[in-house]
């Protein structure tokens, strides 16, 4: 069995002061709340504010997802809600598209119009909790427009809503492909980010290592890749959109994937905080403390949730949640014991949420900030992962940044090699996973857990509803707003489309219609799959 970190550094049997010789407390760690924030951003940690405990929802129709959100609120989820989109909305086609009608509502929420968002949020407050909507990059502008439009409808100032509904254009490369071209995703992301900064809307964008890592990347690579994303995207907001770095730095948040290798996970997050703080200050000249403080949420790793002996996943989730709490995260959502099977059942969701509550209230971990600081082992690991990540980051910088490195295929190859290496390690039993390649039991002896079932008619029903609803919209207003969007979308990459997207969404233009219109204005097919024609006459 291998005794090394997931990025290949040997692990010693014992760590001593010699392993952290040269560590300067003030310079390298600092008190919690002090630069370089290795120990976190708050002097008194969770005593001031507990992390947001949440579960991801989204399956079936918007009305069904609304029911799940209400159920989660009953289970004690009050700080924030988190909804993941289905593949149809993620692709920016509509449920009544020939490809959409087979998969609407299958892997998430079918949020293709403001109507769906209104149904999702029925009876649920837009303020007083963080609103997180996950999906792919292109629908960033739709999700943001929904929040703004619903705030207007409810008579709320959009700047009173907080959360994260935007998603970075890079996710497309890391195991979660969407069909829109990178340059379009990047343009829409910059538009949305500039819009929230200029309108003082406290919406963040996920710019995250989670997808990269869940697709097989190691800890050091994950840090390097996500830091290079921040450098690329914040740099563009400053250079191309004229924002102050101190404002631009408040757009991204990191969702870090926490696996079961406890100490390495804790070290990863500590190193990431320190590295970003130094980059923000030294490379971008950050003036505010906030700009040096990367907001970090935790997702306990879905990749580690095994299909075999799914009850074992409860133990894994508990270990990972404890690590997530140790690192001082802002919010946490858990993978569930049935993660390898389906979207969470009510039982699995309660189990996972309760795991967080147990960690928060019973273990005492929330009483003390950064409790592992000063451990010879953890400080040595923090230094090592920083060192390895720094090497990879330098390689990416030398290529001209992340976009250039992706154009060269460097990042994709790195991820592919690492995913292959992980599979081979498991195949050869160099890394043991209980129930998978160690202590296996025959499938017939395995215990059964309740699995959230899919109903084959659901997708069709969502599609039929949309097809019947579309003609009931005010067609004159809709056509005028779509035409305005088409005209604006021809004004060049730096012309911000958010205002006209918000107006189109308020006229109930759908995701397929909004993104299709923008695509057409850019000389692309209206339909990314080239199956349907543009339903509008545009000039």
């Amino acid at each position: 069995m291998k005794r090394e970190t997931d990025y290949g550094y040997a692990i010693k049997p014992v760590y001593t002061p010699a392993d952290v010789a040269g560590l300067d407390y003030e310079k390298d760690l600092g008190h919690p709340g002090a630069f370089p924030y290795t120990r976190g951003y708050h002097e008194s940690g969770y005593r001031t504010r507990m992390w947001t405990q949440r579960m991801t929802a989204g399956l079936g129709s918007s009305v069904q997802a609304n029911g799940v959100l209400k159920k989660y609120r009953e289970m004690g989820q009050r700080g924030g809600m988190c909804v993941i989109s289905d593949r149809v909305f993620s692709m920016c086609i509509d449920p009544d598209h020939p490809l959409g009608r087979k998969e609407a509502g299958i892997l998430g929420w079918p949020g293709c119009s403001l109507l769906e968002f209104e149904e999702l949020m029925d009876g649920i407050p837009l303020t007083g909790q963080s609103i997180t909507l996950l999906g792919s990059s292109a629908p960033t502008v739709m999700r943001l427009a929904y929040v703004v439009a619903l705030a207007h409808k409810r008579g709320i100032d959009p700047s009173d809503v907080h959360g994260s509904v935007m998603e970075s254009p890079f996710e497309n490369y890391f195991g979660q492909t969407d069909v829109q071209p990178f340059d379009l995703n990047l343009k829409l992301w910059l538009d949305a980010s500039e819009y929230v900064v200029r309108n003082k809307i406290r919406m963040r964008s996920s710019v995250i290592s989670q997808h990269f890592q869940e697709s097989g990347g190691n800890n050091a690579q994950a840090i390097a890749v996500v830091l290079s994303m921040y450098k690329e995207l914040c740099g563009k907001l400053v250079r191309e959109r004229g924002l102050d770095f101190d404002d631009a730095a408040l757009v991204p948040y990191e969702l870090v994937s926490i696996g079961t290798r406890f100490f390495e996970e804790v070290a990863k997050v500590r190193a990431l905080r320190r590295m970003w703080a130094r980059i923000a200050k030294e490379e971008f000249g950050a003036k505010t403390e906030k700009a040096c403080q990367l907001l970090i949420a935790v997702h306990t790793s879905g990749r580690t949730m095994t299909y075999q002996q799914p009850l074992n996943n409860i133990a894994r989730c508990a270990i990972q949640s404890l690590a997530g709490a140790m690192v001082g995260c802002t919010a946490m959502d858990n993978a569930t014991m049935d993660n390898a099977y389906a979207e969470p059942s009510a039982l699995a969701a309660r189990m996972s949420l309760n795991t967080q509550h147990i960690v928060a209230h019973e273990t005492g971990v929330a009483d003390v900030v950064d409790p592992l600081a000063g451990s010879f082992f953890v400080e040595a690991l923090t230094n090592e992962v920083e060192q390895e990540a720094g090497k990879i980051l330098k390689q990416i910088d030398d290529m001209g940044g992340l976009i250039a490195a992706i154009d060269k295929g460097y990042i994709q190859e790195m991820l592919r090699d690492e995913a292959n290496r992980k599979f081979i390690e498991m195949d050869r039993k160099e890394r043991l996973i209980v129930g998978v390649n160690h202590l296996e039991i025959p499938p017939e002896d395995d215990f059964e857990i309740p699995i959230q079932k899919l109903h084959p008619g659901d997708s069709e029903a969502i599609a039929e509803r949309m097809a019947a609803w579309k003609p009931t919209r005010d067609q004159d207003v809709l056509k005028a707003k779509i035409q305005q969007l088409y005209t604006d979308a021809q004004k060049g990459d730096r012309f911000n489309l958010m205002p006209s997207i918000v107006e189109a969404v308020e006229a109930y233009a759908t995701s397929g219609e909004v993104i299709g219109t923008i695509r057409k204005a850019r000389g692309l097919n209206y339909d990314p799959f080239n199956v349907i024609d543009c339903p509008f006459t545009l000039h």
């Binding site: 593949r87 149809v88 993620s90 692709m91 490809l99 959409g100 087979k102 998969e103 299958i106 892997l107 195991g175 979660q176 492909t177 969407d178 069909v179 697709s215 097989g216 095994t306 299909y307 075999q308 390898a340 099977y341 389906a342 592919r416 995913a419 292959n420 599979f423 081979i424 195949d427 998978v436 390649n437 296996e440 499938p443 699995i451 079932k453 899919l454 084959p456 799959f529």
Partner: protein
């Protein structure tokens, strides 16, 4: 000679499934074992996959599934039948719950590789059961 020599396999995702890691890892394992892999990637409809299978004259279609869109796999099996591709294997790999897995097998999927399947299991099955392997045995 390697186990997969002379055997041609499509590896693909189906429908809107955008999860590529599993399919890419399996492609690497198959190539290393001597198989000829035609990797179609994402956003492939059942019809597109069948068209590719006919055009490339493959011995096996391998679907990497991580999206619960099983009906499209059933549609693929139906299209294979309609096109009389009776000696071509259709195999699926992924985290498929027991009930839909049993249903896919009943509908005519030849084999499902659940999570935890080793590379050797996949290679051995395709090397012994596919049309290319049988042709090789006769030759």
């Amino acid at each position: 000679m390697k186990a997969g020599n002379g055997i041609k396999v499509i590896v693909t995702m189906i429908g809107l499934d955008g999860h590529t890691t599993g399919g890419e890892v399996v492609s690497m394992i198959l190539r290393d074992a001597g198989f000829e892999v035609v990797y179609l990637g994402v956003n492939q409809t059942p019809q597109m996959i069948i068209d590719a299978a006919i055009q490339e004259d493959v011995d096996v279609i391998g679907i990497s599934s991580h999206a619960s869109n099983y009906e499209q796999i059933e549609e693929l099996v139906g299209l294979a039948r309609a096109n009389e591709l009776d000696d071509m294997l259709i195999v699926v790999g992924g985290n498929i719950p027991r009930e839909p897995a049993a249903q896919l097998l009943a509908k005519g999927v030849h084999k499902i590789f659940l999570p935890g399947s080793s590379g050797a299991t996949i290679v051995d099955y395709l090397a012994s059961e596919s049309r290319g392997a049988k042709a090789r045995a006769v030759a």
